[in-house]
Amino acid sequence: MSRRRIWTLVRREVRATFRDPFTVSILIAVPIVALLAFSFVISSEVHGLRLAVLDGDRSPESRRLVADIGSTGWFVPEPVGTRVEIERALQAGTLRVALVVPADFSRRLREGLAPPEVQLLYDGAEPVLAGNAEGALRGIVAASGGRLVRAPATPGGIRVATGVLFNPRLDGTPFMVAGTFGFVLSFLTTLITAVAIVGERLAGTFDQLQVTPATSLEILLGKLLPLGAIFAVDVVLMMLVAGMLFGVWPAGSALLFIAVSAFYVLVSLSLGLIFSATSATAAEAVEKTVLFSIPLVQMSGFAFPVRNMPMPVQWIAELFPATHYIRVSRGIYLRGEGPIDLFPELVALAIFGFVLLLLARRTLEARA
């Protein structure tokens, strides 16, 4: 292995990458756009959701209940006249939540015998939305009911004092920011290498490389090191954007995060190399990459927690390097975990890296 030859190859790769304005703009735009777009899509609450109110009682008490619900800003109450209106709007998909206050609401409240009933209707066709709305509304109704009753009821059940660690407001942004690193570093890297190498093969420059004295390992490093460095810059760029725009900084060591990310970039770059080396055309390489990255988004825990899957599917998910990287990224970003806590994941990543780098080198040799 000659350091001079690798250096030459690295310089060649850097020049080739920066000569193409399209690639350069992709390298800058995609990470930032992904951060901006993905960071806000998950939420555990509701905000300004329209709430149809059918008030059959029209008493001060029922108006008080509706006012309490409106005052949180989570729901915007809107009076409706009939039940049919609610049913029609739910059916047409223009309404998500409705509250029906029966005519005997204030009477039962005053008599204090049986607790008054109210009906809460949700559009179950959007389960996440309905679940969030239910959690919020149940709390408001209980609190409002407590204020409406004059004689405090006998307390029942168990009171739960809750505390939330790491993210007290249950904000979705840090979770998605940490996941977006996994998305960008898995997907963009693989795609860029796959396309670049097939392009070189079509142009014939790849065969030229192989007749130079450079060994397959040197060619491999000459490809991986510069692209790895470029993506390491991307990581820092994303960290700065997330930090300065959304105020999301890693809770743990930023250096550890950059180091793991740089290593992970090498893993996905090798994957891209393997895809391209085993494909005859650019279209085929891209097909492989895209087919591989669909489960990547869906099974790596980026959007759906791996824990929620049935056991056999969880084993498959463990076979994606992205699953482990996203776990590391969330561990460092959200919980401030250190290398000792993350040890099993780091070992898994190291094994993936070793195997994939070896495979990438093998595929390069096989073509020579």
Binding site: L120, G156, V160, A161, M309, D341
Partner: protein, 377 residues
């Protein structure tokens, strides 16, 4: 006039025939048409869900009484949790949370039993908030168990356990148990068709340009718009086949059949397919190489999955992001699909989304016409 229309039509059909021949021999195309519906059906039907499962949790039971053990058992039998891990100190439990080995820590105080007898029992629940959706659900599940915990069963007195001063009767329409599977099955056709229409059309024209066959077609007595329409026609057929597969798959495998009108489903699909293919052709006309076309289409498909509302409800997104999602055809189609499949709507309820899709298609056609002027230099 009729002769003019007939000539136009025969031109389009001729190009469509040629295109059908090409597609039939494209192995990658056939594979993706056959493999994708099956893998999506399996993934979204069996594997992916927002509903917490196998949640690891720890219990610090300082009272260790029948009442406290019953509470733990009640939480466990909700079905969302793994068997709890007993811890013997607060620090130990917190360390589990910090390492991510437990998502929740339930602390039952030493005088829990006395508090039960006094009628004001209280426990503490610490939750890992890093995954906010899961955390909120865990708080909800444990809160419900605790609120309905019947203290009478342990102390023998007949104290009335009234949990709430208002008794909310909760009903979830269309999907009583809030199963995520129904949420995904309703829009499966949308995801499949986006993948198909965009990726095929985006690669197609650039590919022909690279190999020079596009310029050859231009030498024929057909206009560039006729070529584009002819190219799209066979794909419309494939799209309807995929729609049928998606709907039948969800119905036969999971018993989730469309509640609304099948005719409305068929009608609403056409403008969506046209708009998606329009995006593909436009991408293709923007890109100079196949690689560029791939990048642009992939980075259109992925955000459209995330922002359109097929994976996450768009009403939960902040206003700017929500508005951005309206440029994706998939946003409108998923609105229509959920109305027809999940809520049983008829054609009159999806006219709005259909109109929006036609507008998107029209704008794209103008763009394509402008970009696809013969470039023979």
């Amino acid at each position: 006039m009729t002769a003019w229309v007939r000539r136009r039509l025969s031109n389009v059909l001729a190009v469509a025939y040629r295109e059908g021949l090409v597609l039939r021999h494209d192995k990658g195309f056939l594979a993706s048409v056959l493999v994708q519906p099956v893998s999506m059906l399996l993934l979204f039907g069996f594997a992916l869900s927002y509903t917490p499962a196998n949640v690891p949790w720890a219990v610090l039971d300082r009272s260790d009484t029948p009442a406290s053990r019953r509470l733990i058992e009640d939480v466990r039998t909700t079905g969302y949790f793994l068997p709890p891990r007993p811890v013997y100190g607060y620090a130990q439990g917190r360390a589990l949370l910090e390492r991510g080995d437990a998502l929740a820590l339930l602390v039952i105080p030493r005088d829990f039993r006395r508090d039960v007898e006094a009628g004001r029992p209280e426990v503490q629940l610490l939750v890992d908030g890093s995954d906010p959706v899961t955390a909120a659900r865990i708080l909800g599940y444990v809160g419900q168990v605790a609120a309905h915990f019947d203290v009478r069963r342990t102390d023998g007195t007949d104290r009335v356990a009234r949990t709430a001063t208002i008794d909310p009767q909760v009903r979830f329409w269309f999907n009583a148990t809030l199963r995520d599977r129904d949420f995904f099955m309703a829009i499966m056709a949308g995801m499949l068709l986006t993948n198909l229409c965009l990726s095929i059309t985006a690669l197609n024209i650039v590919g022909e340009r690279e190999s020079g066959t596009f310029e050859q077609t231009l030498s024929l007595p057909v206009s560039s718009l006729e070529i584009v329409l002819g190219k799209l026609l066979p794909l419309v057929g494939v799209s309807y086949a995929l729609l049928t597969v998606a709907v039948l798959g969800a119905g036969l495998v999971f018993g989730i059949w469309p509640r609304g009108s099948w005719i409305a489903l068929g009608i609403a699909t056409l403008p969506f397919v046209l708009a998606s293919m329009g995006v593909g052709v436009f991408v293709s006309s923007l890109a100079r190489t196949t690689a560029q076309a791939v990048f642009i289409s992939v980075f259109f498909i992925l955000p459209s999955f995330v922002l359109s509302g097929v994976m996450f409800p768009y009403e939960l997104m902040p206003p700017a992001i929500r508005a951005l999602g309206f440029v994706f055809p998939l946003r409108w189609y998923q609105i229509a699909l959920r109305r027809i499949i999940a809520r049983g709507a008829g054609i009159e309820d999806v006219l709005g989304p259909c109109l929006a899709l036609l507008v998107i298609f029209g704008v794209l056609l103008l763009g394509i016409r402008w970009r696809l002027k013969p470039r023979l230099a």
